[in-house]
Symmetry: D2
Subunit: 491 residues, 4 copies
């Protein structure tokens, strides 16, 4: 994973505004609040009544959208933006979203969060039919499907004025499989859509009459917008001068919101799919303490920062003091040149340091949100032991991640997942702790306010824990995954 951290990574954050004179500045702020969903690149496209204005670049939102020149170019009453976390290879500019295309009906800018499971198959066919691709993104697959569509009949009639354009976009979405939350901007309207299972989040907000679409509510808070509601799974909304219209063009299925959004992806202060993330994580910590208490523990300490809410919940439930035993250095630069005599675990040390004074001689409960490869855990535990901890008990605020995700999350292949090939005792030995325990699947669902997992019709996508892939993995099954997506190497 590209930042060297041993975590699953969400692939994107998206944000859109319609009906505000200063739409690009608000979009930049919204993307800043969603920066945790993708730090490699960011882009904004606005429409000013005549032209679409675009700025896309590598790096943080605050670096890309800090110049007055850039912001003055991004005129318009409507804008959409995107934060990118890339899964493969170098992030090149041509892959940075929103992607813009011109059709006979005018311009279309599209940004999405998620992953198509039949994107490669579709791309292959489109190229055979004469399409020229300029990126390796799923988003461009959707653009070409729109370009080639003649529209589909829709049970529900979209706003008259945009009937043709909307029916072509819906036609395109009807052909794709996978997880997506998508926003699109034309010269006339802003469109938002979630896949029928509603795997990725998308919320609707209101700022003084302007309508907002965003991955999480924290992006509404930063601009002072009100949270209106979630976009529903399978819903398509069209926002224009006359207001918002909601369509449900797809056959209804059981929704399967990604439960890992609560474990790690979303920001604690966000409400996604109706649940506050901090609350969920704290309750997860409580469930974890009930399932796997640590008798005789002296302190509970999080692996910062993602383990903190779970550790607070665990400590409160267990009646053990909560303390900060590992300090995180939030300053990061590009990279460091390691000394010739390599420093043991330098990568971890650049971000973390164990506080000897707090840990020495203690029986420590270390709470982390999840274990992916386990590489960081090994180093953190060694660091805590070196700091003098007498006992180290690790408690993980989610079930073992035994399967890869194909729905818009950057995960290793199965063989890279520690829990895919080892049982808990083997993992305990590998990580080097005195005890190790994971939250159970039912405990996870209990923390979400349910009585447990309904195995016949699970309410969340938990494929990374269960291998239960609700959406078909078409490319994978068809062997359509190319060894290399593009023949072009460009920087």
């Amino acid at each position: 994973m590209s930042d060297g951290s041993d975590k699953f990574h969400d692939e994107c954050g998206i944000f859109g505004v319609f009906g505000h004179p200063d739409s690009a500045a608000h979009t930049a702020l919204g993307l800043h609040a969603l920066q945790h969903r993708g730090q490699e690149a960011a882009g904004i496209v606005s429409f000013d009544g005549r032209h679409f204005n675009s700025h896309r670049g590598l790096g943080l939102v605050g670096d890309q959208f800090s110049s007055k020149d850039t912001m003055e170019r991004l005129q318009g009453h409507a804008a959409i933006g995107h934060n990118r976390y890339s899964t493969t290879g170098t992030t090149v500019l041509r892959n940075v979203q929103p992607l813009f295309a011109e059709f006979d009906f005018g311009g279309l800018a599209v940004a999405h969060n998620g992953n198509l499971t039949n994107g490669h198959s579709l791309r292959r066919q489109l190229v055979k039919d004469g399409a020229i691709f300029h990126s390796t993104t799923d988003t461009e697959v959707i653009n070409h499907l729109v370009a080639n569509s003649r529209g589909i009949p829709m049970p529900q009639r979209p706003t008259n004025r945009h009937g043709s354009e909307v029916s072509r976009i819906v036609d395109a979405l009807a052909q794709v499989k996978g997880a997506y939350s998508l926003i699109a901007l034309t010269s006339e309207f802003l469109l938002g859509a979630r896949d029928p299972h509603g795997v990725r989040p998308l919320v609707l907000g209101n700022l003084d009459g302007a309508m907002i679409l965003a991955s999480e509510t924290c992006a509404l808070d930063i601009i002072g917008a009100n949270f209106v509601r979630d976009i529903e799974p399978g819903e398509v909304v069209i926002i224009d001068d006359e207001g918002i219209q909601s369509l449900s063009p797809f056959a209804a299925v059981q929704s399967r919101f990604c439960i890992f959004e609560y474990v790690y992806f979303s920001r604690p202060d966000s409400i996604v799919d109706g649940v506050n993330v901090y609350d969920a994580r704290r309750r997860i910590g409580i469930e974890l303490a009930r399932e796997h208490p640590v008798p005789g523990a002296d302190m509970v300490t999080p692996v910062p920062d993602s383990g903190t809410p779970g550790a607070i919940g665990f400590a409160a439930e267990a009646g053990v003091p909560f303390d900060i035993g590992i300090i995180r250095n939030h300053y990061v630069g590009r990279t460091f040149i390691e000394p010739a005599d390599h420093i043991r675990h330098l990568g971890v040390k650049l971000k973390h340091n164990a506080n000897k004074a707090t840990l020495a001689g203690k029986s420590v409960v270390l709470v982390d949100d999840s274990i992916v490869r386990g590489t960081t855990s090994v180093k953190i535990v060694e660091m805590v032991r070196k700091a003098g901890a007498a006992e180290v008990h690790m408690r993980i605020a989610s079930p073992p991640t035994t399967h890869s995700c194909y729905y818009g999350v950057d995960t290793p292949d199965r063989e890279g997942l520690l829990a895919a090939t080892r049982d808990v005792e083997q993992m305990r030995q590998h990580i080097g702790v005195d005890s190790l325990a994971f939250l159970s699947m039912d405990g996870m669902y209990r923390a979400m306010g349910l009585t447990g997992r309904d195995n016949t019709q699970p309410q969340y996508c938990d494929a990374c824990f269960s291998g239960d892939y609700a959406i078909p993995l078409t490319d994978r099954e068809d062997g359509a995954l190319p060894s290399q997506l593009s023949l072009l190497a460009e920087q």
Copy 2:
């Protein structure tokens, strides 16, 4: 015109190599020799046996291709490159050639010098049929035509191995009108083509067995390659591991090489269309002296640097001393902030200074290659007069430019051309000289070794002097020229 000079500007230089282990480095050098054909951007695409490697950027070749990192990425035995001079607006990266596209048969990189006269009409139809454009270049029109082609039957069979690809490219070229010299690179072959009228130059060279295509022979000289021959008007050559094959897929027409290449565009040391440019210019100066002598002149001085060969010819023929009365400053930076009390003619002064010691009290013959808007001429003449010249006689080494060019040259609209709305006497008054004279059209052809212009079947394209547009101006006639090519404003 974007560099502030009052000249016609050629729009591009192209260069390609097949069969050399160090193809990109040679391409960079070739492009450097062709830098006078376009200074705004440059790009190279190489093929290394597995991938196409691309680097494109704004600025001079020597700035873009000076880094070891860049050159090491551009591996491969074949490469093509392009220098860009843009006609409209800001040069954005997505318009920098070569353009690369992936088809079902693999990758294709294309670079061209010229201008399609039905490009907008074709683009409009292609978009209607579902094509998504990513640039505003003619080159991409050709790419989409290739993408949508199923090939055409060709009287002459192309090399078996590439029959399908070549017939699709030829099919695309058969649909375009205009002036072009084009090079294209696939994983299998390098293709070169000139439009049936052969308006733009393209030469074939040989470097130790590797085949070279280049706009001018000066690009062969820099790498030590031998000049083999011109690519013929309407010829398509395919260069692969087995050698070179020549096709003539288009109906033959009278060739119309751009005569302005001899007036200004090409480098003096190049041989294009069989004639050395310096020689042609010198002979033009001789013809000019014969047609329009200046009795009593003390010195002949060129407007540097393009007027120099003509001035040398004029001086020799007239028996008047040749001297340098205007000094050119070859150092340029980005721009200068002018002082608040604007300096009279600062733009000209940044590049030129009159040498008072040489000019004072003299009757001066000032030789320039052409007059476009006349703006610079006015300032140069004022500068020469201020330096103390007693008389200033201007002699122009070409006929009056009364018409715009639509064949790949950046020219003002007709109303912007000084000669379009004024006769010679009016121009003389406007420029402020004691006498003004232009070479006649027949004089021009005589300098090219002919007896004069064959008005029934002219041997050169001289539309800018005559308004005789040999290739139909389809877009112009159809009103297909959009006020703006793209809805997207990007930097």
Copy 3:
């Protein structure tokens, strides 16, 4: 204050290595661990046996020292480095430390943390005597004093080999007043010194025989070095090939370590002046809860991140749940262009968001480390109230900051300090909380393990709370503070 935060800011972090083949890479890592002490610029000077190699630049350590080219230039077995936080104006490169100067005895690189209280007076005299300054730093004052010194007799003889150089440096230090921890590098030795009161920290470490000097122990941890001891107040150490020699050339005085290092400046995992910072802060929280409990509170929440340890201590002592009510966004870019309709408290919102789900309806104890101007506090409290908190009680983990610091800390003038002109009740009303309380001075000293402040001979520098300035403010008293330090405006 330049980063817009309402905090005191320490002015620098320093780090030095002697006797390690890879000294610059270790120095870069040490500076990264000390990044919280200064983020505006960083520099490293190494000595490779023949030359001093220097790299200094604006921005984070990880940006400046991430290139292989840079690090390969910084050869040598000894190096010193510096992180800069500037007090005045733009940080220009000529002010970035370490400063290097060449004397008749060879080169000297110097970096320091602190502030001279007679720097301006000395500078004025030096200029009068012919010195040419190239920066506006105190460090250069020291360099010029060394340049002009002929050495002083020292009761204790420094190592023979460096007697002359050391006696000149000590002579220079004997002339300056103020707070400083200083490191200097010559071709022969590394020197470390703390001012007689020992206001700023400096620790000694050992890495496989190489000696390390660093502002805090966290910089030893990152490279795996062992903590040896604090450099003593008034101590000068000389480290060379033969080991370390300690001198005490100055008259002994009561040490006055800066107590604010525990409140805010130092990193929680560091041990400075013999005390772990996290422990101190946690104990401060406990003392605060004892002095100023909040009956009926539902939760204790920190103003992140500096209020966290105090809040944990407070919550534990008070028996009230600790929870995260304010989320911090750690991603920062350069700046943001605010929308035209200014967002209320945008500056705070870029970094913080209140978590409504956690705060709504609660009686909240908000723990912050200190109040400087109070500007951020007002906004944070408004944000917490808007999130639905029923009551907001603010508890400050230090006494009111009523006085400016002149010992190397960036503080506003007295009139800018909220506590300088208002009593606690006035501050409560200004900030808009239901109750407000500060830790008492004696409580502060109790948290440090003492029975209270010994007013006749205080053990810490607490001038910002007490106005008790142990070191004379010479420039201030002499009116030697220039309105502008330099006549040169350079970028």
Copy 4:
């Protein structure tokens, strides 16, 4: 020599304005006109009534001073600027002039063109006395001499108001030996000075009442200023609100203006030391044709661009046609990565190409201004021969350069000079021409309007031809030239 060309290089151009509201913009333009005197770096310091404003940077004037931000910072009614060509090593920013220093009397910015022959000796003594140097420039030696001066009595009283400052600057200049044209700016006045021998040029101009100092008159022309007169050898002028005052504080000696300024350094359109450079070069060509005619020659062609005026003169005198046989590519980028199979003479080919059509079968007279190492000459001649020239006769428009220059010109050591170790016949063989001839020393002086060289009291500095060093080479004789000037390696 750093640009790879085989020429002597002048080390700098200087420019100053006093009394103009837009002084920095005029200075930038003046420096642009002087760009041929130094292309490595440029700097401007202005004084705005309160502050000195400085901008210095590497690269061309037009790149450094093209930004509005930069120019708006450089406020003020007086400014000085400098173009740098460095003799040794990398140009680092701290060496870029003007250098600024603050004294007890205020600020002083200094820029100079030339070289001190006792600079190292002075520097060594100044360091011993406590001076701290920040650059390796001669200019800083002068600054330190001013800092340490208490003034000297002057026979002629300078303007009362600036008596002290001027007498300190004159005192400093009285201590230095060497060749210099210097300009200095204080808050009160602009000072200009030429060394007693007047080796380097400095002219005085007038722009609407504002006074200008510049290396050459071409810098007056670009801003429309009038040429007033040369500053005299040994003259010091002080320009302030009340006008200009001239001092002659040094003992008079025979002036020795650098004759090579006419051979190569100055721009053809400049008048320096009373003589137009183009005229001088043309007359040199005439003398050369008289001394060394080439019977049977078909054409005279210059090595561009510096050989052009001489070639024109030669051709006119000899009655042989002047033609352009070698074309120069004026576009340059940073560098090029040479192909693995190195191209023969690539360096030369990047800039020059022989025009086969012009040269083939001809007996060619090749005129160059001088031969330094001869490396380029060898390659040019080979290129001309390969282009088919039947005979190549080289004529050099100056005597053989047998000695190095120590007066502000970048020259190789003697052993590097082709003419230092070979006679003309040996050089002819080395270069590979059919005949080779140099202008005689007397011919050179005749071209300057004299009857020949007055060997008892030569009117020009011709040390590079004669070894007659009028100014003592103190450092060289004292062995004071350090192997390395600074212990610091910085980038």
